[in-house]
Structure formats: structure tokens, C-alpha cells
């Protein structure tokens, strides 16, 4: 069994209005050293497979097919074995 931890964020080239609003709020709270804020999504999957490679392939496929829209979003992920847990 594997666990995939996936992060989906708006592409760097796209203005993130939510991130901007939070950034302004943080600055108004006095955190003047915060220069950039980006907001994204976090997805966890449990994958029933025995191979690390298969877990990666499946995760990449579901990111491309559903979890991220590559017109506007980038994704990154890590997979870890959770055997015996």
C-alpha cells in the first residue's frame, strides 16, 4: 500500500487572487517580511499497489486526468510506502 501526497497550485504565471488577499491581510497584521503568498490544494490518496513505480504512474495519471487542470495549475507529489500500517 502506498500513500500519495499531492499539491496542486495555480501556475506561477497566473495571478492568484486568493493568495494576494491573504498576503495583504498578513502584511496588515504586521508580517512585513512576507513577500509572496500562493494558495493551492492538498490531496492524499491511498493506492493499493506493491510497487513504488506503479504508485507514481497512477498518481501522475490521476493528476493529469482530474486533479489538476494543466491550463492553469501545476502539481507535484510524493509517494511513500505505508505497508504494515
Amino acid at each position: 500500500m502506498y500513500s500519495a501526497k499531492i499539491k496542486v497550485t495555480l501556475r506561477k504565471s497566473i495571478l492568484d487572487p486568493q493568495g494576494k488577499a491573504v498576503e495583504h491581510s498578513l502584511q496588515s497584521l504586521g508580517f512585513n517580511n512576507i513577500l509572496d503568498t500562493r494558495i493551492g490544494k492538498y490531496v492524499e490518496l491511498k493506492i493499493d499497489t506493491k510497487s513504488d513505480e506503479e504508485a507514481r504512474l497512477v498518481t501522475d495519471e490521476v493528476c493529469k486526468k482530474l486533479l489538476a487542470n494543466q491550463v492553469m495549475e501545476d502539481y507535484e507529489f510524493e509517494v511513500v510506502s505505508i505497508n504494515g500500517k
Binding site: 495555480l10 497566473i14 490544494k41 482530474l66 486533479l67 487542470n69 492553469m72
Partner: protein, 228 residues
């Protein structure tokens, strides 16, 4: 050409399906049926309306889950064969997610849901969706007033796509005063072939004077004229 037979797709969370049905069936007297999203075929329908709303609660991304509904496979096939498809609001988002239209719709620049009448400039009158706006005495020439009601109507695409949209006359509607941050004030686009339209504003909610305006009705009349 065959007569227009409209199919209005209904997803869990659609809420403009009845507005579209009312406009087509009762105002324009067209053969109109609802199509439940679990249908695997659009049957004999030759104009598909993908209506506004919040399909699947806008979970994950607006339109991301609806595009995998069974009926959408046949809608995509229909569009690929030159069939007419109109996506309004959430419907526009679904058509972008399906790959029938380029680009994507993200959160409004203001982060606020906008709900108001807007004026659109009709940028291309030579489409099957806009022909009835030419020289029609009932509307301000070259413009239409219709409502918007969305939180994620901010149209984006890459530079090459924008260039080709502009060069090919695919930008059909632009906001006179952009309410959501869309690139180049884009409010509605067609595909290259001209048979698929997506737009954020709601023509189906402005098709009789009792609701405050009827500019939207000519969009559907254009489609009907193109088929009859």
C-alpha cells in the same frame, strides 16, 4: 437542414436548466427536452445546452467532475461532428474542462461573487450564435445587456491561444466593463469550427421583458435560424 431539437443537460447542482428550458420551450416554442447527466446518449437532440449552476458543488474545480458525467462523452462526440453546443456559465467551465473550448475560468479577480446586468460588445456577428443581432431593431446595435452571476468567471489562456482566438474571430463577446478580471475582457468564445459556444453571462435569463430584458433571446433565435 434539420429543425432545431434542443437538449438541456441536467447535472446534480445545475440551477439554470429551467431558465434555459423555459426560454427555448415556452418563449421560442422549440422542441426541447431535458437530458439527465447519466444518459449515455443525447438521442435525437441536435443542439445541446450545458446550463449554469454549481454541478457537483463546484468540488475540486468548477466543471471538473461534470465533464466526466456519462452524457458528456456523447456531447463531445456531437461537438466533434460539427453539432451545436452552447455552454453557459458553469456550462462554459465544463466545456473548457472537456477540452471543447480552450482556456480555463478561475476565481474572479475581486474574489467576490458578481451578480448584475452587464453590457456585452458583440465582437463577431458572423456566427451561428449571433447572426440575429445584425440589424435587429430590438437591441442596441452591436451590444447586448444580460446578467452575470458567478464567482469563477475570470477567463485565462496562454498568449498563443489568445492570439489565435483574436485572429480567428473566436472572441464573440467582450464585457464593456469587465466584472471579473478576464483576459482582454473576454465574456464568450467559440471553437475554431464555430459550432461550440461558451459564455459566462446568461442569455437564457434575459429572454423576455418581464424579467428585465430580452436581448438574450436573439442568441437562441440565431441558432434556430441557422438550422431551419
Amino acid at each position: 437542414m434539420s429543425k432545431a431539437k434542443f437538449g438541456v443537460v441536467v447535472f446534480p447542482g445545475s440551477n439554470c436548466d429551467h431558465d434555459a428550458y423555459n426560454t427555448l420551450k415556452h418563449i421560442l416554442n422549440q422542441d426541447t427536452e431535458f437530458l439527465w447527466h447519466k444518459e449515455i446518449s443525447i438521442g435525437d437532440r441536435n443542439v445541446i445546452v450545458v446550463p449554469g449552476g454549481f454541478s457537483y458543488g463546484d468540488y475540486l474545480r468548477c466543471g471538473a467532475i461534470a465533464r466526466f458525467s456519462p452524457v458528456m462523452k456523447d456531447v463531445v462526440r456531437h461537438a466533434s461532428n460539427g453539432g451545436v453546443v452552447i455552454g453557459i456559465c458553469n456550462g462554459f467551465q465544463i466545456l473548457c474542462e472537456s477540452g471543447l473550448l480552450p482556456g480555463a475560468l478561475i476565481r474572479n479577480e475581486s474574489l467576490k461573487f458578481v451578480c448584475k446586468n452587464v453590457t456585452l460588445n458583440i465582437e463577431n456577428k458572423n456566427t451561428i450564435f449571433t447572426s440575429a443581432y445584425s440589424g435587429n431593431g430590438n437591441v442596441t446595435p452591436g451590444k447586448m445587456v444580460v446578467p452575470v452571476a458567478h464567482g469563477d468567471g475570470n477567463y485565462i489562456c496562454d498568449e498563443d491561444t489568445l492570439k489565435s482566438l483574436n485572429e480567428n474571430g473566436q472572441v464573440v463577446f467582450r464585457y464593456e466593463d469587465c466584472p471579473n478580471g478576464s483576459i482582454d475582457s473576454i465574456a464568450g468564445i467559440i471553437n475554431k469550427e464555430g459550432n461550440v459556444l461558451g459564455m459566462m453571462p446568461h442569455p437564457e435569463r434575459a429572454s423576455e421583458s418581464i424579467v428585465g430584458g430580452s436581448d438574450g433571446k436573439y442568441l437562441f433565435e440565431s441558432v434556430i435560424n441557422s438550422l431551419n
